[in-house]
């Protein structure tokens, strides 16, 4: 699907699970890490910065940092981070962060989860171009492969 903006990504998915279950998978940092492929040793706390180590093979040397912005029980969870901060030799701390927002809503047969990541237009242009260069064909293809594997081996 093509986006008509260069600033944001929006996703919506119907999860066949109650809101309380989805909320836990999002806000319990260990559970979050299990599907996001990162190991967080501390819980997500409002206003805090939580660090996690990527567990995806080949990227274990990389540390993620979430600046937790909003926790509104079973409704909204949001944080800021440096997207695609995959070069250990680069200091991303001075760059603007994108905002990741998860919104939950009751839906027929489960929970509707909406994800919006916004603020990409503020990311330095050279970084965006470089991200394409270093990642095209690498990480993306591996992620697609993993997705296929998990679908076949639930």
């Amino acid at each position: 699907m093509k986006t008509t903006t260069t600033d944001r990504i929006e996703k919506e998915v119907l999860l066949r699970a109650p809101r309380s279950r989805v909320w836990r998978a999002l806000t319990d940092s260990k559970e979050f890490g299990s599907w996001f492929q990162a190991l967080f040793t501390e819980p997500f706390r409002l206003g805090a910065r939580t660090k996690g180590r990527i567990t995806y093979p080949g990227y274990e040397h990389l540390v993620l940092e979430f600046a937790i912005e909003k926790i509104e029980p079973e409704r909204l969870f949001s944080f800021r981070w440096h997207p695609n901060a995959l070069d250990p030799n680069v200091d991303y701390s001075k760059e603007p962060m994108t905002l990741v927002e998860f919104t939950l809503e009751d839906a027929e047969g489960g929970t509707r989860l909406r994800l919006v990541e916004s603020g990409f237009d503020a990311i330095p242009i050279e970084r965006r171009a470089a991200a394409l260069k270093s990642n095209d064909g690498g990480w993306t293809q591996q992620m697609v492969a993993i997705e296929g594997y998990l679908r076949k081996n639930p």
Binding site: K2, T4, T6, K11, N89, F120, I125, L132, M143, R151
Partner: protein, 112 residues
């Protein structure tokens, strides 16, 4: 340190992002997207920006290969170069695919 596996043309993306990094130019691209090829007069309509400024912005976009002008009688008609614009979307596509994969794993987890 990274192997150079970029498909041809990707190194050229930086000027594209630079050209798009301006609210007026983004709006021009959006208008050309919605309305198809059009004249400067039509692009100027409904904005507080002068024709000269619009022309200048279109030149910047044209230099980045995002739009092109075609002479039609007395006037130029401007249109998008969809191929180049596509390159600008690839960064978002990259992140977007990762979210698809992550959300699919989340789905497996909570629907277990």
């Amino acid at each position: 340190m990274k192997p150079d596996r970029a498909p041809a043309g990707l190194e050229a993306s930086a000027p594209i992002f630079a050209a798009l990094g301006d609210a007026t130019r983004l709006e021009l691209v959006a208008r050309l997207c919605r309305g198809g090829p059009q004249s400067i007069a039509r692009l100027t309509r409904g904005t507080s920006i002068t024709r000269q400024a619009i022309t200048k912005h279109l030149r910047v976009l044209a230099d980045a290969g995002l739009v092109r002008g075609r002479r039609l009688g007395r006037e130029s008609r401007w249109e998008l170069e969809p191929e180049r614009l596509d390159v600008a979307h690839r960064y978002l596509d990259l992140i977007s695919k990762r979210w698809d994969a992550a959300l699919s794993r989340l789905q497996d987890l909570v629907e277990e």
